[in-house]
Structures are given as structure tokens and as C-alpha cells.
């Protein structure tokens, strides 16, 4: 019955889970209005050298006096020296973060949480389905898969956003495709000049060929309702529950399973998630207001 698994990621940097490390904004990219990517570097070289993370994990970014926010890491785990976080302005912390400039000092605790199963799906086909800013936690997977491209079969990314402007990391698409990513985008509403797909991302899934469903792994991140329909579509295409992974979001306060905020049934989303294999959370995703 108990199914607590050991956090698959590397242990966080410190034995005191409350201690933040000083980091600085090294690079700042405005992705779209209200969304920016902050590359952070540690002040302390020893801390920087010790820091590694796995795709899907998150950090707690801390602005003293304002508070902390859980932000997934959107960088290349192979280059952990500078750590990108793509952040949408949504609350006090992220608003205050948006005021900061390159060189600004802030705190970081992490990495925390579970990882996408990039090792589990070696030898198989990988299907990534993202919605909106949900591409950010999946970008480390893209980097990791493409870095070891020969270890995987087909790698497909289906990415939906409300509008063409809402598609993240557009300047990287060519590179990803050239490295062997089968990549399709779709938007809810096209704009002038948009020649791509219009509609929900599950339509792309319904249309694509899945030659060997028993060896295909789905990783999905986006609004819960989008993930839900993606899961249903995948199940209909004969993927098993054990081949489906989702990243869930709850109010994370401590990030280390000690504060109770992010509970989702028996799960602490900060500790057992944010990435879950679907069979583990299926019954809870069906309960209202859990």
C-alpha cells in the first residue's frame, strides 16, 4: 500500500532544506509579454560545481521580503552551470521577479521533485505534448533526448498555445528539428500570417501515426484539462497508463514535503511529483476539489 518512492533526482544541495543559495541573473530573455526566462548562476563556485538537476525538477526562487515561488527548470541538464527558469507573471513573487535586471541577486533552493522518465523510455518512441508555458518543464527533456538522439526511436513534440505569440522558444525550433525532433505546433486562434494548425493539441495526437504504441512513452505538461484530454487520446491509441507521465501543479510552499500545502491525495506534489506516472494519480485526477 505505501508507495512513497525515493525522489529520483539528485539530493538537494544542502542538509538544511531551508537554506537558500545566492544566485544572480546572468541572462534575461523576454519570451512574450508577461513571460521571461531568467538564467541564474550561483555566486559560490563550489555550490555551482555541486549543482546538478534532472529534467522536470524545480527550484524555489526566493526574493527576500516578497517570498518564494516554485519554478521548474527549463534548461539543459547537461549544462547545469547556468540554470534557466521560464516564469509567467502571476503572483507577488513573479511580479517582483519581473522587476529585476541582469545581475540582480536572489535566493535559490533546489533542485526538488521528481523527473521525467528519460531513461525509462530508452529504445522507445517518445511523445511530448505541451500546452502554453507547459513547454518549459519539458524543454530539459528535449535537450536530453536530442543529446542522445540515437538511443530513442521517434521523438515527437506536439505543442499547443492560445495564439502564435504564445509559442515559447520559437528561435530554437529549427535547431530541434535539425537534430531529429518531429515537431508540430497548433494554436487555439490563428493570427494574420499564421499558416500552421488551428485547434487543440489532442487533434494532432489523434491524427499522428503511432506505429508501436506498446513502446511509446507520453510526457505531457500544460493545463490540467489539456493533459486530461491528451491522456484520453493516448489511452485510445493503446498506450498503457504506465507509459503516460504528467506534470501536476499545486501550491508548493516548502518544496520538501514538510508543510502540507501541495497535497494531492496521498501525494506531495513537491516530493512525489511534480512528474507522476499516470496510473499513480489517475483516480485522484477524477475527484473534484481534491
Amino acid at each position: 500500500m505505501p508507495h512513497r518512492t525515493v525522489t529520483p533526482g539528485p539530493a538537494a544541495l544542502t542538509h538544511d532544506p531551508w537554506l537558500s543559495h545566492s544566485v544572480r541573473i546572468e541572462r534575461l530573455v523576454e519570451e512574450m509579454p508577461g513571460v521571461a526566462t531568467y538564467d541564474l548562476v550561483f555566486d559560490d563556485p563550489a555550490t555551482a560545481a555541486a549543482y546538478t538537476y534532472q529534467p522536470g525538477q524545480f527550484n524555489m526562487l526566493y526574493l527576500p521580503g516578497v517570498g518564494e515561488a516554485a519554478i521548474s527548470i527549463s534548461g539543459d541538464p547537461g549544462e547545469p552551470g547556468h540554470i534557466p527558469h521560464t516564469v509567467r507573471e502571476a503572483g507577488n513573487v513573479t511580479h517582483a521577479l519581473a522587476e529585476l535586471k541582469i545581475g540582480a541577486s536572489l535566493g535559490l533552493r533546489g533542485p526538488f521533485g521528481s523527473a521525467w522518465p528519460v531513461d525509462v523510455c530508452i529504445g522507445g518512441d517518445v511523445l511530448l505534448v505541451a500546452g502554453g508555458i507547459g513547454l518549459a518543464p519539458l524543454r530539459p527533456v528535449i535537450y536530453a533526448l536530442l543529446r542522445n538522439r540515437d538511443q530513442y526511436g521517434d521523438i515527437t513534440l506536439l505543442y499547443g498555445a492560445r495564439s502564435p505569440e504564445g509559442l515559447l522558444y520559437a528561435d530554437e525550433y529549427t535547431d530541434w528539428r535539425s537534430k531529429g525532433l518531429d515537431f508540430q505546433t497548433t494554436v487555439d486562434r490563428g493570427t494574420a500570417g499564421w499558416k500552421g494548425n488551428v485547434g487543440v493539441v489532442t487533434e494532432l495526437l489523434n491524427r499522428m501515426s503511432l506505429p508501436r504504441p506498446e513502446q511509446t512513452w507520453l510526457m505531457s505538461c500544460g493545463p490540467e484539462v489539456m493533459m486530461w484530454y491528451t491522456i484520453q487520446a493516448a489511452l485510445a491509441r493503446e498506450l498503457s497508463r504506465e507509459q503516460i507521465y504528467v506534470s501536476l501543479e499545486r501550491n508548493m510552499n516548502c518544496a520538501v514535503g514538510l508543510c502540507g500545502h501541495c497535497q494531492f491525495g496521498p501525494e506531495f506534489v513537491c516530493l512525489d511529483g511534480p512528474v507522476f506516472r499516470y496510473d499513480r494519480v489517475e483516480s485522484m485526477m477524477k475527484v473534484h476539489d481534491l
Partner: protein, 253 residues
């Protein structure tokens, strides 16, 4: 800092912020604060702190003017956010009151009700309490200066009682207490001095007044005690008003 029907106690809370007052005075430009200075400058104002309830036709006109002048309008205190203790008149015969009190009631121009500011103009933030907490006032001002959302609690007084180790006066002594349905902010003072909560900070979020009232009635707390308990500084707060009306048997407004 502008005032309607009220006792000025909430305005005084700002002057009571002794430690923080200089920092506040340094960070903001105080344009209108009669309790502190008679020097007054005309609007528009970035932030208007409004104390007091609307009780006269003149108030009505003035609050609309203030709204036009104010970038961000914060109502402070039970009068401004819920009508205050003077909203007891909402349940009484206002004409009769005037006849009893004034020799020539025809010179009195007043409304039959005391109502919160938000009943008449849009309000950007409500700071509860009778009086308000100076800590919360500083928090609101600090948040406005920093451009963030103020952090004020929405939880019940009970949580603060427990945090400070106060034994529940209701459970241990049978003292009727509004703590379970009242918003925190006062640091749970009254139960710490062996008194039930008077509801000074108004209804907590999603306050379950019916259940508490049912319980007190089962405990044989009479209408003559329950109605005044609910009709206090926040008598006209919708949740408390509905509860007191239910206890009183619908014999009021």
C-alpha cells in the same frame, strides 16, 4: 485619509504606528490627514484611505467625488467596510430616533441606514477591524508602495488563539464567542483576556454562521444574547446580518 461616519479610531491607528511612522512619512506624500495636520492639498490622490460609513445624503455625494479623485481606494475599519456599530440604526426606526434626540429633527439631513463605502463606489481594498490593526495598515501601505498585493489573513480568530496558546473560552467555559466565524487580525486579544470574540474584524472567509448559531441555540444561549453578539461593530456585514436576522426570527430589515 478621509473620513465619514466614524470615531476616528482607525485614523489614529496610523498615528499609532510610532516605529514605522517616519518611514511611512518618508515614503509617501501625505496630502490630506486632518487628524495629523490641518494642511490640506487638493486631489487627485494616488491612494485614498477612507474611514467611516455612509449615513447622510452629503456623504453619498462626497464619496463619489473621492472615488473620482483616488487612484487606489482603501476602506479602513468596520464602519467603512461594513457600516460600523452605527448600522444598528438599520434595524430601528430612524425617524423616531431623530425625534427623540433632536429638538428640531427637521434640520437633520440623514439617511435611514449606515452602509459601507463599497455599497456606493468601487473599492480597491478593504482593511477590516474595529479598530484596524496598525500592523495590517503598515502592510497595506508597504504593499501599495511596492506594487504588490497586501498580505492580510482571511482565516478565523481561532487559529490565532491556538498559535498563542489561548484555551478556547467557548469549549472550556461556555462563553459565546464569534471567533470561529470572525476574520483574524486582532491577534485574538479578547479570548486571551477571557472574553468571547466580538467579531470586530467581520466575517471570516466562507464563515459558517448558521452552524455556530445553531450550536449556541442548542447550548441554550438565548436570542437576547445572540442577537447583540452578532449585531455589533460589524452588524451589517452580510453574513452576520443574515445570521442575526435568522436568530431574531426575521423581525428586522
Amino acid at each position: 485619509m478621509l473620513k465619514f461616519a466614524s470615531c476616528d479610531g482607525c485614523q489614529l491607528s496610523l498615528l499609532d504606528c510610532e516605529d514605522e511612522l517616519l518611514a511611512i512619512a518618508g515614503a509617501v506624500d501625505i496630502a490630506y490627514f486632518l487628524e495629523a495636520t490641518s494642511s490640506v492639498r487638493p486631489g487627485p490622490y494616488d491612494v485614498a484611505l477612507v474611514e467611516g460609513s455612509i449615513t447622510t445624503p452629503h456623504d453619498l455625494e462626497r464619496v463619489r467625488q473621492i472615488r473620482k479623485q483616488a487612484g487606489f481606494l482603501v476602506t479602513i475599519g468596520a464602519c467603512a467596510t461594513a457600516g460600523g456599530i452605527q448600522s444598528l440604526k438599520n434595524w430601528a426606526d430612524h425617524e423616531e430616533f431623530m425625534r427623540c434626540v433632536y429638538a428640531q429633527p427637521e434640520f437633520i439631513s440623514t439617511l435611514s441606514t449606515s452602509t459601507p463605502i463599497a455599497a456606493h463606489v468601487p473599492v480597491d481594498f478593504e482593511l477590516r477591524g474595529c479598530p484596524i490593526s496598525r500592523h495590517q495598515l503598515v502592510e497595506v501601505l508597504a504593499a501599495l508602495i511596492a506594487g504588490r498585493k497586501p498580505r492580510t489573513p482571511t482565516h478565523s480568530v481561532c487559529l490565532d488563539c491556538k498559535r498563542r496558546g489561548t484555551v478556547c473560552v467557548e469549549v472550556a467555559q461556555g462563553i459565546p464567542c464569534l471567533g470561529p466565524i470572525t476574520q483574524a487580525g486582532c491577534e485574538a486579544i479578547c479570548p486571551a483576556y477571557n472574553r468571547g470574540c466580538f467579531g470586530c474584524y467581520g466575517p471570516a472567509a466562507q464563515a459558517n454562521c448558521d452552524s455556530l448559531v445553531d450550536h449556541y441555540q442548542q447550548q441554550a444561549v438565548g436570542t437576547e444574547r445572540l442577537v447583540p453578539l452578532l449585531r455589533n461593530f460589524n452588524a451589517a456585514a452580510p453574513e452576520f446580518q443574515a445570521a442575526s436576522n435568522r436568530v431574531a426570527g426575521g423581525d428586522a430589515s
